[in-house]
Symmetry: C2
Subunit: 369 residues, 2 copies
């Protein structure tokens, strides 16, 4: 199996949904396996909010934290089998991992775009992914796969390029975010924009980032990614070791966990990018421009696998059921499964015993017809 990390500069002849153009777009991506001569065995993996293109493979250092984020699902002999498929995972438009985004240099000014980067919608992300797979010689996607924001991209693919997508796997996602999810995200963005170091997005990229605001936004998000019960089970109301529970410093075990996680996060993420990507997630609405979600999904021609998790309160099983119902009404082949787990929204990222059924579902769905 050959794996590669690559960068390509593409002509991105694309008017952004809310206006704006890029002369060229850079895309950083990872591939695994080999494209068939007919260009018909490719699987595109779309990334969730804060993941990058490193979807599979061990790190040479052996550090498990640097292994691919879907290492248990994507690889040789795994459910998304890189021995049989050419798997592509690209960093997302608007992100901060090499693909064009607010940290990229604006060739007109030779300065980073920062908030001058065009606003990014999921439609724009998918448009750039389309350029990438054209460039790679892919004729038709055997499948497009994603969870959460990645699932939104997968759904958008099925609706925007119906003839290009044979199979669509949308996990822990929905046609749009609830108002509650939106509300947590708007507070998260305000944490960033009210950080004095944000400076309207003009913070020095190698200096004092508005990491305080970004850490707060991440902590809010993180709470929504896990279930109430798993939090009670894992942390409960325990105090952090050595803390007496006085004052306003870190005291509760859950606080220490959230802080540790957010501190790791802020070192690998750009605050402006977080604003762009969370906004893209919030504004995604598969129904927009159509009279109904049914009308929108009636454009699709793929086979669908929709998976939800019982304890996911960001994208609930009801969100997935709504998708599956609309697809069924158009007599599209759809498999829907709700997996019982306490792991919450992030379940799709965790190689836990009860998530084995996700692997089996994906493997079965990807078998040749």
């Amino acid at each position: 199996m050959s794996s590669q990390q690559e960068m390509v500069l593409l002509d991105f002849d694309h008017e952004f949904k809310l206006g704006g153009r890029l002369p060229k777009a850079e895309v950083h991506f990872e591939t695994h396996g080999t494209l068939s001569p007919d260009g018909d065995n490719a699987i595109l993996v779309c990334t969730p909010l804060t993941m990058d293109s490193h979807v599979s493979g061990e790190d040479p250092s052996g550090d498990p934290k640097k292994a691919g984020w879907w290492n248990f699902l994507v690889g040789a002999g795994l459910a998304v089998d890189t021995d049989r498929h050419f798997v592509i995972c690209s960093n997302v438009l608007g992100g901060c991992k090499g693909t064009s985004g607010p940290t990229s240099l604006n060739p007109d000014t030779n300065e980073p775009y920062r908030t001058g980067f065009p606003e990014v919608r999921v439609e724009d992300m998918v448009a750039l992914q389309k350029k990438l797979i054209d460039h790679l010689g892919v004729k038709k996607l055997y499948a497009v796969v994603g969870g959460s924001l990645g699932g939104m991209q997968a759904l958008q693919w099925a609706v925007a390029f119906p003839d290009m997508v044979e199979r669509c796997i949308a996990i822990a996602t929905g046609s749009r975010l609830s108002c509650q999810g939106l509300a947590f995200d708007v507070v998260g963005r305000q944490c960033i924009t009210s950080d004095p170091n944000w400076k309207d997005g003009e913070y020095p990229l190698d200096g004092e980032d508005p990491v305080g605001g970004l850490a707060l936004a991440r902590m809010i998000g993180h709470i929504t990614y896990i279930s109430k019960n798993i939090m009670d089970q894992k942390f409960g109301r325990r105090l952090q070791d050595g803390q007496k529970g006085e004052g306003f410093a870190t005291q509760f075990a859950v606080e220490s966990f959230l802080k540790y996680n957010s501190e790791r996060f802020i070192h690998r993420f750009d605050p402006n990018s977080y604003l762009y990507l969370s906004k893209a997630m919030d504004t995604f609405d598969l129904e927009e421009g159509f009279n109904s979600l049914q009308e929108s999904l009636s454009r699709a021609k793929s086979r669908f696998l929709i998976i939800s998790f019982s304890s996911d309160w960001l994208f609930t099983p009801e969100d997935s059921i709504q998708l599956a119902s609309c697809l069924l009404q158009h007599r599209l082949p759809v498999t829907y499964a709700n997996i019982e787990t306490e792991l919450g929204h992030d379940a799709f990222l965790i190689d836990a015993p009860e998530i084995q059924s996700m692997k089996r579902l994906v493997r079965g769905f990807l078998e040749p017809k």
Copy 2:
């Protein structure tokens, strides 16, 4: 009916739960009605996190926003009938409405205590309320009533002073907060403490408060006070009027709502007080010091009315059921009702049609035996 707002300086011969003493404690409180000669018709109303002692009565200005916060429940002829009862509602210890708290002057230094104020637990709040009712000549509380943090105080009363409490009404509360609720609160406190204007609590009280952090904390809290469905119904994904949905300023209707609410809030609340009170809520655990919740509640001798709201996800119906079950095991008279509503945790503060049943339950429960 006579209503009064008063301030009293009490000898507060009390060692705070985590240590510390006050030479004297100020209490600001409101009373309605007249204490019977036997001192046995008093009802103590305990305040939720951010409410003050103004529980009942219109404002002379006629401004409905300045009317008592439980005006639909407490008043002449209402469920908590001020024609028959002497109703007391005091501002809470650690708050910022006159009762001793971080904004009070430390007589030793002639400076505000700020974070030098002793840490406050619900037990300490109740201890000061006990001093107040002793001072007022109340021999036994006909009832103690509260919702949310107020409900925690009511439960603490029943356990700490079993012979003083004939009836206990605990609404939208529990024996302790879940880890998820705790997590939202710790992030809220970090919003305040990471605001550079907070200055370790030493911000000037008449100048630049750390209102940015307080506003963020309030917004996070506010989302947890309302249900997912009501948010979808009230705001959905609508953009604020006149907004095109671009950039990172206020765009969504729900964002505008949260901002409007938090801006009103920051003008009436002190950031250090918010830290103290939210910490008191987080650390409350009726089980602490006992082998079980049952053992703790076995001290109580009151009749109980426990009310939950179906869509409350901060204190769920399960939290109330747990309380009611423990009480029943001790053969204490307990009425438990779960009210079907989409209004979420804050339902007890809203005079909505489906909350009429809360009024009826309270009225019936307060009838003489």
